[in-house]
Amino acid sequence: MLTGLAVIGVARFLQQRQDYENATARSYQREIQARDRLGRGEHAAAARAAVIGQQRRRTELRDEISSETRDTALLVGAGLIAGLTGAALLFTGLIASMRRPLEDLVEASGQLAGGDLDARVKIGGLSETATLGTAFNEMAGELQRRAGERDQLERMKDEFVLTASHELRSPLTSVQGFAELLLLEREKLSPKQAETVEVILDNTRHLVRLLNDLLDLARSDAGRLTIRPVPTDAAGLIEEAVRTMRAQFDARRQTLALKLETELPEIEADRDRIRQVLVNLLTNANEYCPEGANIGVKARHLDAEVEIDVIDDGPGIPEQQLAHIFERFTRGDAGETQRVGGTGLGLAISKSLVELHGGRIVAESTPGVGSTFCIRLPATATDRGEAI
């Protein structure tokens, strides 16, 4: 209302100015017409009178207009003040009626972002906030529906991988078993045949490894990768893993040096799983390092943890690759992967397993110098007590 008044005031002021301009233009036109009528040089008095009259009329008009302008300015000022006061009052009211619904929306958005898909707002207040609230609730409902579908798909995928790897295991058992059977009678095979059977066996073992890794990852994704940690002799476990791998290192004329701190405490470990992690790290070092490389395994007691390092002086890992090294299907250079028989899943699984133990695994590398994979696992509580 008040704002409207102010607008009218401004409009009137503009109209006055227009009138003044028009009047000035008309008076000049009349003067020129008068001069034409009287002729050049004649009736100068009449012309002068006409000009004087013209000037007087102009002065009167100016006075009239300036008083009008004053009125208009006053009107505009009053209008503006009234308008602003009104607007301020209006805003206070608006803010008060929007505040609650908006606060509710902010809170619900936070809940939604935090993963609470049940978050909804109460619809009410101004029609604008009510519309916003309805839109929010519809969005939240849609998100919830899609999340439900996605969860179901995830479950189906997990089930599929678990079932598929289970079903694949039987035929693989036969292939591997019969190939081994053939090699038991190697003397009856020609060298070419024996070599062929070895290729079959190598590939079968690779398939089994891939299958085991996929199964572990599917279990991990489904939250079903479980460990049974018990107090475990860290040194014994490391030595066991190194023993398993010794032949592969010898085959590539690589040195494998073991440097374990004396009196390492026991660690809380699922023996099979931590051996799997260590064998995985050693296999990577063995396969990615060139012949003649030096690989070391170090272990030491650090506070409440045992740190195990697998260090090599191999080609190293480029920085960009290092950042993603624990992600599944991240592997060394394409040229290398042709030669190296890994699955690209080993480090992802190792990370899952170490973290399930409450430990950490990190990788450091300098291209051209070598790589270090460092695992930290919690020491068994009693040993920790003794150590302190």
Binding site: S170, P171, L172, T173, S174, G177, E180, V208, L215, D216
Partner: protein
């Protein structure tokens, strides 16, 4: 000569196990499911070791073992499983399972375990 009853629903796996075990000098009997295991064990002198696939149609190796144990048959038993993880803990509790063998079978490990169960040298 120690007798081993091997049960698996795959004929190929049965053939593989029979061949390898006979090469090691064991006497091998086979069954295609858990029901055959129960029938064969109940009908004659129980074998020295049971080597049972965990999952078989009609009756699983676990269910067959449960029935045999209920009937008082204490024959040592090894469970062959496609699962890489061991037993199902509580579910297999009290069944007197002497070990789990995962597929694909590590025959050296299998022979070592059987030798432990049948005592030093093949029993006669």
């Amino acid at each position: 000569m120690a007798r081993i009853l091997v049960a698996d629903d795959s004929e190929t796996i049965l053939l593989l196990l029979r061949t390898r075990l006979e090469m090691e000098g064991y006497e091998v009997e086979t069954a295609a499911d858990g029901q055959e295991v129960v029938d064969q064990v109940s009908a004659a002198t129980p074998p020295d070791v049971l080597l049972l696939d965990a999952m078989m149609p009609r009756k699983s190796g676990i269910d067959a073992l449960r029935e045999l144990r209920a009937a008082g048959i204490e024959t040592p038993a090894l469970i062959v499983s496609a699962h890489t993880e061991g037993g199902n803990g509580a579910e297999h509790e009290g069944l007197g399972i002497d070990g789990y063998i995962t597929k694909p079978i590590d025959f050296d490990r299998l022979f070592a375990r059987i030798a432990e169960l049948t005592g030093p040298g093949p029993a006669s």
